[in-house]
């Protein structure tokens, strides 16, 4: 009997059951631990361990509930709202305190109240609404067109190796090139029109969206493609139904960066290219403040540009990203 006891007994996970002749080992869990000369020790997993389909179903459902986490209820976490608000309040207090010290001339460093006053004036004139609306509309339209152009290009580059080798470095280079560099060229080509602004936005956003998508695709576990192959996916099905959704977290990162680049490029274009048929945006407001040497207008414009950036993150990208990561079980333990 040396043969059958040695390989079994030295495995730590083995649950040994004493078996006497004729009995079915799996269910025999009586506590008679050896001693008997005829008893052979056999691994419980060698034979069927359940007594039938119904028994198996019950066992499995018991194990499933033991191994699954209880559903946790989501509560509104007030610290999520109160902490950022508190941070802003603290910064404004510091700002006011600094201004009150009177170290600098008031027209060079206006206080929060002066800026708030200018906000009121601009609002009453309608200039504030016009500037925000013009810029936001351009930024969003430019961004959405960039997404529509960049997504197929990115997917194509990520999936076709020779294309990627050929154009990859160029795209990375374009991402590093500040899109403001395109403003002079755009003015020469398109004059002082909306086309100039959009061109600069595209040159800022498209490369970073392409790069985000490519790096998202690079991070896909190789097994997903194997599964796709085994399941019989065609090239197009693989790209659209497996690669794209798998790359979504990285793609979303690219979209966020693409939006940031379009917003920045837009501001740069609006500051430099003023007049013609180009409307009055936040960049134009900033430039106007400089021309008038009115620091309160400059500060108002800066704060508005910042506020739009924060709102887009909080209202659009934040929730989308959170939902995306949560559904994939990727948020546990993060500080979000």
């Amino acid at each position: 009997m040396r043969n059958n006891s040695s390989p079994v007994a030295d495995t730590p996970e083995a649950t040994e059951t004493p078996v006497s002749a004729g009995s079915t080992g799996g269910h025999n869990s009586a506590g008679s631990t050896g001693g008997h000369e005829e008893t052979r020790k056999v691994h419980a997993a060698l034979t069927r361990s359940s007594t039938g389909s119904a028994d198996l179903r019950e066992l499995e459902s018991g194990l499933d509930s033991l191994q699954s986490d209880a559903v946790r209820k989501a509560r509104v976490d007030w610290s999520r709202i109160l902490l950022p608000v508190a941070a802003v309040v603290v910064l404004i207090i510091i700002w006011q305190a600094y201004v009150s010290l009177g170290l600098k001339r008031r027209d060079l460093v206006p206080g929060p109240l002066d800026v708030a006053g200018q906000f009121g004036t601009l609002w009453a004139e309608g200039a504030l609404q016009e500037a925000v609306w013009t810029s936001l509309q351009r930024g969003l339209v430019g961004f959405l067109i960039s997404v529509a152009i960049a997504t197929p290009i990115g997917l194509l580059l990520a999936q076709v190796a020779p294309l990627r080798r050929a154009f990859g470095p160029l795209i990375s280079g374009l991402q590093v090139l500040p899109s403001v560099a395109w403003v002079p060229a755009a003015i020469i080509w398109f004059g002082l029109t909306d086309a100039t602004v959009y061109f600069v936005v595209f040159m800022g956003a498209i490369p970073s969206i392409i790069n985000g998508l490519i790096s998202g695709v690079d991070q896909i576990p190789p097994q997903y493609r194997s599964v796709g192959t085994v399941l019989g996916a065609s090239r197009l099905q693989m790209a659209v139904q497996i690669v794209l959704p798998a790359a979504l977290p990285g793609y979303l990162g690219g979209l966020k960066q693409g939006w940031a680049f379009s917003w920045r490029s837009l501001m740069a274009a609006e500051i430099i290219a003023v007049g013609g048929t180009i409307g009055f945006g936040l960049g134009s407001m900033l430039n106007q403040g400089r021309d008038l040497a009115d620091m309160t207008i400059v500060m108002s414009a800066i704060l508005l540009i910042l506020a739009v950036g924060i709102l887009i993150e909080l209202l659009v990208f934040g929730p989308i990203e959170k939902r995306l990561l949560q559904r994939r079980g990727l948020l546990a333990g993060s500080t979000r």
């Binding site: 390989p7 056999v42 419980a44 060698l46 034979t47 361990s49 499995e60 191994q67 194997s226």
Partner: protein, 241 residues
């Protein structure tokens, strides 16, 4: 014969052959356990049968519609629910939308997961994930099902249950199953036939039949396990320096 392997060989680049002169035939509806130590090319052999890799020599006969495949980790897509993962397999096979839903529910019921269809993979336990993966590979509706150590990462309790589960499903669906494992007990528990693969290069060195008596008589099964283990260790010892 759904699967015939003739003098099959595989080497990667200029390296030593991973598989050399592998011969085997697997009948329709048969459950074959492919056993071997680490690095014996079990997974490579399975990948060749699945069409994921091509052999460098020899001939191979597999069903023309290919094979279903189950990986060691469930490899479910995290952006889809359990049911959607199964539906995707059906969709890629060309099943219509309405029918997909019905079929997916049937398959979930088959693996005793009818209530978990709307859960996402990260909400499921390891055993449940593997059962969804099993349902997905059954959704492919291929006669041949290849399994690459599908239960290796599971805890012992879950594994024992999944052995019963797999045996039940095999009997219900009549699939031909090739099950790769490095666990002798698992091979004896599941296979009707156990093929032992040598290491470096991989080659079928011996095979054993497992009868229905082995399923119910733990003593008999234990004896066979001992014999196979001894042979496997002999094979490993050959590589000692």
């Amino acid at each position: 014969m759904p699967v015939v392997l003739e003098n099959l060989g595989k080497r990667f680049g200029d390296g030593a052959p991973v598989l050399d002169d592998v011969n085997a035939t697997i009948g329709k509806g048969e459950f074959v356990a492919l056993l071997g130590a680490s690095g014996c090319g079990k997974s490579t052999l399975l990948n060749i049968m699945a069409g994921l890799e091509v052999p460098t020599s020899g001939a191979l006969e597999v069903p023309s519609d290919g094979a279903a495949f189950m990986f060691q980790d469930a490899a479910l897509f995290p952006w889809l629910t359990a049911r959607e993962n199964i539906e995707l397999a059906l969709q890629l096979r060309g099943v219509g939308k309405a029918e997909r839903r019905i079929k997916a529910n049937e398959l979930l019921e088959l693996v005793h997961l009818a209530g978990a269809g709307d859960k996402r993979p990260h909400e499921l336990s390891g055993g449940m994930r593997q059962r969804v993966a099993l349902a997905r590979s059954l959704a492919q509706d291929r006669q041949l099902l290849l399994m690459d150590e599908p239960f290796a990462a599971l805890d012992a309790i879950t594994r024992d249950l999944l052995h019963d589960e797999l045996e039940r499903i095999w009997k219900e669906t009549g699939r031909t199953i090739v099950f790769v494992t490095h666990n002798v007990r698992e091979a004896v528990r599941l296979g009707q036939r156990v093929l032992l693969l040598s290491s470096r290069p991989g080659r079928v060195v011996q095979e054993w039949n497992v009868t229905e008596e082995h399923r119910t008589d733990a003593g008999l099964a234990g004896q066979l396990t001992g014999v196979i283990t001894a042979r496997l260790r002999e094979e490993i010892r050959r590589h000692a320096k």
